[in-house]
């Protein structure tokens, strides 16, 4: 148990995040949007718990509980149930990587969503097991090289927002660190919504993506603009809103800046067709919602 004084920033100086890590931006914006609603943080095994540093120090300025890898949603359930029983106004936020969300944590996540627990679950998705040095997860996109997909991943990325929307939770949305206003607005919507909320943030990882740390925000901007990472939100699993549409940016521009795609067999044309299919789905859902 590491102690700090109250009213510190949520993410304090001295944290161990790498330069260009999307998590650093995400946590600071979480702090900004939740300034008057200081959360409990529940963090499973992930870079995000290493970020805290070693006992007896901590980089987190709010009460933080490290959970076992698969258990963030279960631990958070216990925390939020007891907070509710005691009229405690502080929200419970899970802050988890893609390994703890898409893979090992998906059963407890699905169960907490199905029970509609009063939890805000934020996945910072860097598309690899970053903390263990960059292995494939089911969030790793097709074509990306990782230490366990040395010739590039053969499978397409799992659609986690669709899975969460299928639970008909009150709110699910995607977050881009290149779209600050949209990011903060969605955090505030989540803050004002009760029940289970899921936010997916594409989180650049210069180490794993083999990209330049000063291009992190630009990369996410490209991912949004080429349509690979759609910005949208889903209320109650049925009302879809698209926040930003592709502007014709070439996917190859995004791929070329990351050496994880260098020399892999990913055919950008095949990828483009898959991206278009996802957009057709989103546009249909958005039309049905209007």
């Amino acid at each position: 148990m590491s102690t700090i004084i109250a009213d510190e920033p949520l993410l304090r100086p001295g944290n161990t995040n790498c330069a260009g890590c999307g998590m650093s931006i995400g946590l600071q914006w979480l702090d900004e949007a939740f300034a008057d609603h200081r959360p409990y943080l529940v963090i499973p095994a992930a870079c995000a718990i290493v970020t805290a540093g070693a006992f007896p120090t901590t980089a987190y300025g709010v009460p933080t509980l490290a959970s076992t890898f698969a258990s963030a949603s279960a631990y958070a359930t216990g925390v939020s149930v007891v907070a509710e029983l005691n009229g405690d106004p502080h929200p419970t936020v899970c802050w988890a990587g893609d390994g703890g969300t898409y893979d090992i944590g998906v059963a407890s996540l699905s169960a907490a969503a199905e029970r509609n627990e009063d939890i805000l679950y934020i996945c910072y998705d860097n598309e690899i097991y970053g903390n263990t040095g960059g292995q494939r997860s089911s969030a790793t996109p097709e074509g990306a090289m990782t230490s366990t997909t040395p010739r590039g991943k053969a499978e397409w990325k799992k659609d986690m927002v669709a899975i969460m929307a299928a639970h008909r939770i009150p709110y699910a949305a995607t977050l881009s660190v290149a779209h600050r206003d949209d990011f903060l607005r969605k955090l505030r919507v989540a803050r004002e919504t009760r029940g289970f909320r899921f936010l997916l943030m594409l989180s650049p990882c210069p180490i794993g993506w083999k990209s330049s740390s000063d291009e992190s925000i630009e990369l996410i901007d490209l991912a949004v603009r080429c349509g690979l990472f759609p910005l949208y939100e889903v209320h109650d699993g049925e009302r879809y809103t698209i926040n930003s549409r592709p502007d014709g940016t070439d996917l190859r521009e995004y791929l070329a800046r990351q050496r994880r795609y260098a020399g892999t067999s990913l055919d950008p044309e095949v990828a483009r067709v898959k991206i278009e299919k996802q957009w057709e789905f989103l546009e249909v859902m958005a039309r049905l919602s209007s």
Binding site: T58, L65, S73, G78
Partner: protein
């Protein structure tokens, strides 16, 4: 005193609910509920209780059942759950986490054979596989012992000199599903008996902490030694909890061990859970025939009551340990713990493995074991006393 005819599971559910409700003036209670035979009736009972300040969450797995307990306990609530067999195995990671986080969670373990192949009957291998977790473990021999021990378990777990989780075990079906007359506890006296739960490292915004971040070897070693030292304080805390239980409920609860007729015994048999209850009848019958034989029931497996055992064994020549569990490549798990406790190499210590997979260990089985032990001049590898029933 109002006596109730009920199953062990009902008795356990009833007692957990009273303990949870007794914390309504503090942070309330919370637990995780997931079914597995033969403990299911316990979590069904808990789900039906209307707590003043409490919620039992119907989770998707045992792993999450303990996860909810951990979150609730670190948020200051009284937390509890129940499981069996493969459920305990699946829960294991969070069982360890609960202890390492020093959370006073109470779990009922209804002992059932680990599968595959699938077998729903009693075998202690499930909870004993968790023997290296930072938990206290008690093995109950009757419904009454179970009820009283659960109340004592909360008191010991939440005592700041201990602050560790406690597992209270009973035999699947033999205890869990059999009806027995029990003096169930009542809310008023449970409120008197249990102080309000205080988790000193509760998450608080007035004093933000990070629980469970990285520790270097030095801090990790200190943390593990703290747990060992807490275990060493259990005998005293348990004694006080038992004394206070008697003051409130007017009844003695068995402590770490129960010794019977060991004073002048040449031969001593050791058992746990309901096998010890059967053993008691066999010992009394053999004593009545003039045999210098006694018994020890080991109730508290963690911390292992080494000193109490050595004292109770005294100058006996032969000691037999009955185990309804088996560590492949070694033998009975109680036996190996007893062997590690005995300093006197002249004692003949023999292990008997009986009732594996739920076989019915009858007085006749135990008589055959006692006959074998009294004839022995040397110990051998563990003997499998086949039941085949």
């Amino acid at each position: 005193m109002t006596l109730t005819l009920c199953t062990g599971n009902y008795a356990a559910g009833h007692t957990l609910a009273l303990a949870g409700e007794a914390n309504r003036a503090a942070r309330g209670c919370c637990g995780g509920a997931y079914p597995i035979t033969p403990q299911t009736e316990i979590i069904e009972y808990l789900r039906a209780v209307a707590f003043t300040k409490g919620r039992v969450v119907p989770v998707e797995s045992e792993h999450s059942a303990m996860g909810v307990c951990i979150g609730a306990s670190i948020a200051g609530a009284r937390a509890f759950t129940a499981s069996s067999s493969n459920g305990l195995a699946y829960m294991t990671e969070n069982v360890f986490a609960a202890g390492y986080y020093r959370l006073p969670i109470v779990m009922i373990a209804v002992n059932r054979t680990l599968g595959p192949p699938w077998n729903i009957w009693v075998d202690q291998g499930d909870s004993l596989a968790l023997r290296d977790a930072p938990w206290l473990q008690f093995y109950c021999d009757s419904h009454q012992d179970l009820v009283d021990t659960i109340a004592v378990a909360f008191r010991v777990a939440e005592d700041l000199r201990v602050l560790l989780p406690v597992m209270v075990a009973m035999d699947g079906f033999i205890t869990s599903h059999t009806n027995m007359v029990v003096d169930l506890l009542d809310q008023e006296r449970m409120d008197d008996y249990l102080p309000l739960c205080n988790v000193p490292h509760q998450l608080r915004h007035s004093h933000p902490t990070t629980v469970g971040n990285l520790t270097w070897p030095r801090e990790t070693e200190r943390h593990r030694r703290d747990i060992q030292e807490a275990m060493e304080r259990v005998p005293r805390v348990l004694d006080e909890a038992i004394g206070e239980f008697e003051a409130v409920f007017g009844r003695r609860v068995a402590g770490a061990i129960e010794a019977e007729e060991t004073g002048d015994a040449e031969t001593i048999l050791i058992a746990s859970s309901t096998m010890a209850a059967t053993l008691r009848h066999v010992i009394r019958a053999r004593r009545a025939r003039g045999e210098r034989i006694g018994m020890i029931r080991i109730k508290q497996f963690r911390p292992f009551p080494r000193a109490d055992l050595v004292r109770a064994i005294g100058n006996a020549k032969r000691v037999g340990v009955l185990d309804r569990n088996h560590s492949p490549g070694s033998g009975g798990i109680f036996w190996s713990e007893v062997a590690a406790s005995l300093r006197d190499a002249s004692v003949l210590l023999q292990n008997y493995i009986a009732g594996i997979g739920g076989g019915d260990v009858t007085p006749e089985t135990i008589d055959a074991i006692a006959d074998d032990l009294t004839r022995r001049t040397a110990a051998t590898d563990p003997v499998w006393q086949e039941i085949a029933v």
